[in-house]
Point group: C2
């Protein structure tokens, strides 16, 4: 009984992040196009390739569960991406544009970090060893991307201070 219910919660959350990753895959080229700095553009291009790998890992987990890979609409990621789009429009000609895009991208990363962290903990509880490995790979990539974005955000500040 307990296992069955946590399995359901795991599957629901897997569908949530699967939908989220697909939305992120669509948003990343727009963010790369919108960004002014070449470093930021490059970061989004690299992250787009990572996102494709991350989607494949999720599909492997659906397969391990014997379930079809299917997303369910996730209002949280839609809200986060919409706020990012709004900033890109409102600050299109502003010197603060990249600051705004960085902020939006970090909100996306934190959403992914929290969801993958949770899924990894539950996979451990459910004894799904292969899923733990796959989820941890993605979790580490998301943390590295967030750290890179933090460095780019701080570099902006230092550049202005110089």
């Amino acid at each position: 009984m307990a296992e069955k219910d946590l399995n359901e919660l795991f599957l629901d959350t897997l569908k949530d992040i699967y939908y989220a990753e697909k939305q992120i895959l669509k948003a990343l080229p727009k963010m790369a196009k919108g960004a002014e700095s070449e470093e930021l553009k490059a970061a989004f291009q690299t992250h787009r390739e990572q996102t494709q790998d991350q989607i494949e890992r999720l599909e492997q987990i659906f397969e391990l569960l014997g379930k079809p890979a299917r997303g369910v609409p996730c209002e949280a990621i839609k809200g986060i991406i919409d706020e990012g789009t709004e900033i890109m429009e409102d600050f299109a000609d502003s010197p603060a544009l990249d600051a705004g895009i960085l902020s939006a991208a970090q909100a996306v990363e934190h959403y992914e970090i929290t969801r993958y962290g949770t899924l990894k903990t539950w996979a451990q509880e459910l004894g799904m060893t292969e899923a733990v490995t796959l989820l941890d790979q993605t979790l580490q990539e998301e943390k590295e991307t967030d750290a890179l974005l933090t460095r780019l955000a701080e570099a902006r500040v230092n550049m202005k201070a110089a």
Copy 2:
């Protein structure tokens, strides 16, 4: 020009997190009521008191800027809270209820961590020393709350393994 635009971005994001904190303040008693474990209930009660302090700090920053404290609806936090409410309903009688509530609460914390991290970086860039101190206080509290929730989530797993 550059300063003016980053000031606007800072103010927009301040209004976003001010709205978000008020929504979180309303959601926390529901999460405390929904949670089964006493430790989790207590964590939400403590965080509710912290949230009141955090709202006051935001009001101090609005005052430093000479602007009225006013929120703007933030779709991201609405989506995150709605997903949590849905989990509480769907898993109301499930042994996985607390796992679901913990997951929702960590998604809230990560949203706050990313927004306060960004605001602190911008306050540094804008030379707003007092705001940096206030934002950093809140940022540290949010990180501690997230770490506490992670410990509670892992304790669930260990308890079940024992």
